[in-house]
């Protein structure tokens, strides 16, 4: 599964993408796994209220199931327009 990071999430983690082999069944479980990787992941994922998530390029929430997901992206609230 590809895990993508954008904006300051990408900057804190230090790269735009990880390919992970995860048994997480929800986004929240995936976040727990990522937090355990390294300090910079723990920092990036410290406050979930400051983050948004998309699964397979659709906005969703942290309780979303990951069964069959190929791409999960984490990023701050969007500031387009």
């Amino acid at each position: 599964m590809d895990v993508l990071y954008f904006a300051w999430v990408r900057e804190r983690i230090g790269h735009p993408k990880d390919t992970v082999d995860s048994t997480a069944s929800t986004v929240r479980e995936l976040v727990e796994e990522l937090r355990g990787r390294e300090e910079r992941y723990a920092v990036a994922f410290a406050d979930l209220d400051a983050l948004r998530v998309a699964v397979d390029q659709e906005l969703t929430d942290f309780d979303a199931p990951l069964a069959g997901a190929r791409e999960v992206a984490f990023f701050p609230p969007m500031t387009g327009g």
């Binding site: 390029q57 990023f75 969007m78 387009g80 327009g81």
Partner: protein
């Protein structure tokens, strides 16, 4: 529906004329253009990051919802990414409708959703330091009216 996510500048006037010219029976055309503001003074650059692959899909979803909700002729969305300077045009939307209320409402709806639901992130670079533009509560709150 026409959606363009691009690094290159666009010509507001040429886009507005082309959009208006390809409508028939539409009494109203509304355009919105977003422009880089140098709010604090000394902005060196605005850099807009996006999520290639998701961006067009997210905008198409928002535009599709506008077409469902209002009686419209057509919708155009252009949004730039990459490096921009103060006073550069960031993005535009155009809507056409038989009646003005639909054209206005749809354009405001598009803007409210593009602000908070399309995967773009703005970074400001000024005087050697840089910072991500924070999302505003009022932009999130604006969605509740639709």
């Amino acid at each position: 529906m026409e959606i363009r996510v691009q690094e290159d500048p666009f010509d507001l006037g040429a886009e507005a004329n082309a959009f208006a010219a390809r409508q028939t029976g539409m009494g109203a055309v509304v355009t919105f253009t977003g422009i880089v503001r140098d709010i604090e003074g000394g902005l060196d650059m605005m850099e807009i990051e996006h999520y290639p692959g998701m961006t067009e899909k997210a905008i198409a979803g928002i535009a599709g919802e506008a077409l469902d909700r209002w009686s419209l002729g057509d919708v155009l969305v252009i949004h730039r990414h990459g490096k921009l300077a103060a006073e550069d045009l960031i993005m535009m939307v155009a809507t056409s409708a038989p009646h003005r209320v639909d054209a206005f409402q749809a354009a405001e709806f598009l803007m409210d959703y593009l602000k908070s639901r399309a995967p773009f992130w703005k970074k400001e670079v000024a005087g050697g330091s840089e910072g991500w533009v924070a999302a505003k509560d009022e932009d999130e709150d604006a969605l509740s009216r639709w």
